[in-house]
Subunit: 339 residues, 2 copies
């Protein structure tokens, strides 16, 4: 009995070790275990992360007055309570407008690990990305000058910018976006999967390890790799056309490429695919096999992969909900009905 137990442990251990090698070979990388290493990896050298910037960025992330209506914040569509997204098939913004290309809101969690931002990958980093939705007509619909007017009209914000960037800071739209980006860079969610990749072999159950192996063997890691298990541009419908594309839906950039979404916390971010037309993970797994890899992923393999994907649920940073400073007489007025 004891011999059996020991041999089982040894077998598991050996399987764990080789699977780890396989995962590394497939390009899968962990969030570092060390907090300092995470900060180094996620900080922008041109806009380094500091506590003062991240705290101010958090306020701005939750600040509905950065939208033209005064009602929509970054967190409305990238809700930190809902896996960093909104559960919608298409983002809903200013005046209840659905995204005109029927694009869903990607999760903000771990977006720092993407090589490109937005579904069409047009943005190189979060500092640039954050400028987009604030201004976009169907999202927050706020002109740059409006945003600058709001922030500069509120003395507490002016002081917090000075604290974060020095007393001579010019508080303009880019600085607002930069600051939000610093906060977003802190939104990473390490999981047991990372513990496994960092060498803790029993961090994943046998079923989860089996799922990881199937995930690699089927070819999923061809696109879902690196730290985010996603984040690069790939041809969408590379092997067969996606069936759930409607007229007007986003069909990829000029080369038909779509940014691969992260699989971290994927259990929390249904519905799936850039146009949110896939309701369940099992359906998403099978459809990906069909249109991207040209392979049939059977029910058993799908269940194995799904078991692995559940292990990507990460630990979210604790968010103390910010108390935002009051508007002043100089704050641009909002006409709630007409805006």
């Amino acid at each position: 009995m004891k011999a059996l137990l020991i041999s089982a442990i040894v077998a598991s251990s050996v399987m764990g070790a080789s699977l780890l090698d396989e995962a590394k070979t497939a390009g899968l990388k962990p969030i570092p275990a060390n907090a300092k290493a995470v900060e180094k990896l996620t900080s922008n050298p041109k806009n380094p992360t500091t506590v003062a910037k991240a705290e101010l960025g958090k306020m701005l992330y939750f600040e509905p007055r950065l939208s033209k209506s005064g009602l929509i914040s970054c967190n409305t569509c990238h809700n930190l309570a809902l896996g960093g997204s909104d559960g919608m098939s298409a983002a809903i913004g200013h005046k209840w407008t659905a995204n005109p290309h029927h694009l869903s809101s990607p999760t903000v969690y771990n977006a720092v690990f993407y090589s490109q931002q937005f579904w069409d990958g047009r943005s190189p980093h979060l500092e640039d990305q954050a400028q987009g939705p604030i201004q976009a007509g169907p999202e927050m619909a706020a002109p740059k000058e409006f945003v600058e007017g709001v922030v500069n009209s509120i003395p507490s914000y002016v002081n917090l910018f000075k604290k974060a960037y020095g007393k001579d800071v010019k508080i303009n739209f880019a600085k607002v976006a930069d600051t939000i980006a610093v906060y977003e860079r802190t939104l990473v969610t390490p999981s047991r999967y990372d513990d496994f990749l960092n060498g803790k072999k029993n961090a994943l159950s046998k079923a989860e390890q089996k799922g990881l192996k199937t995930f690699i063997d089927k070819g999923c890691a061809t696109c879902h790799n690196n730290i985010a298990l996603g984040g690069t541009m790939q041809a969408f419908g590379a092997v067969a056309p996606y069936k759930h594309m409607n007229v007007g839906d986003f069909k990829g950039d000029k080369n038909g490429m779509v940014r691969v979404p992260t699989l971290r916390n994927v259990t929390e971010t249904a519905p799936y695919f850039h146009n949110g037309q896939i309701a369940t993970l099992s359906e998403a797994i099978k459809e990906m096999g069909r249109i991207q890899l040209g392979v049939d992923i059977n029910d058993k393999e799908t269940a194995e992969i799904e078991t692995f994907l559940k292990a990507l649920e990460g630990k979210k940073p604790t968010v103390i909900y910010p108390m935002l400073p009051a508007s002043t007489a100089k704050t641009p007025k909002v006409d709630v009905v007409n805006n």
Copy 2:
């Protein structure tokens, strides 16, 4: 010099003491200094406050899936980051609908101290009140059965209800509202004003004490009294008609009565009055004098009262933003464009 200083302190002390008496006579009451006393005062004997209920209630308060669209939570209009309100003149809800009576969102902070809920006072307590906006067509627009379907479809919620109410709990719409109400009962914001009323004479500056005296002398405490400095029903436009009433605006209940809003955190909850037509505190103070008291409140007195009102800014409870459990295959589906 020393004698002068001592006599100044004595004078201030005497003024403080007599002002305290005046305040008590005027019906002003503090939030108790003792946390246990606060809990006893705010807890509903039929639905006593517990940590398990309050924590679950917080999740539900921030839960957009209680709305028909999946986009609007209690916190959308009663935003804890914005003084418990939304900064709008009229609440904006489902499909970007403005409140049909052009009613603004009252702050949720200290609402537990109101005698009546809603601007028309039709609801006796928060447990009853919380049922309203969730169902109201221009607000969250969710039928009871929809809400019950959402909560019962998510195992984490079912478990949290069991933890809060016992394993035989029937999770229905009323229970959801009861639980949200328990959380709202914890949203009280003690201030230096309370310290003053609780006997700490120097908690308010001389200017603030002067403002409090003017507030009482002018008659403001006739309606703005008790713990909330508001919360009862009073005839609106008792002495002269309110000028900023538009066609279709709420004109009071069948007797022309409007629920008096709290003045706690009033610096954070512009625009003012039930239809949000008053932009600044000074304008609000003067207009109240004119239409409710039939007195002219001059610029000096207005400034004094405003100084006092600023001292009503309270300490908000620390809110750890909740992480909400994922939907399941059984969770009622949301059609983002058509709902």
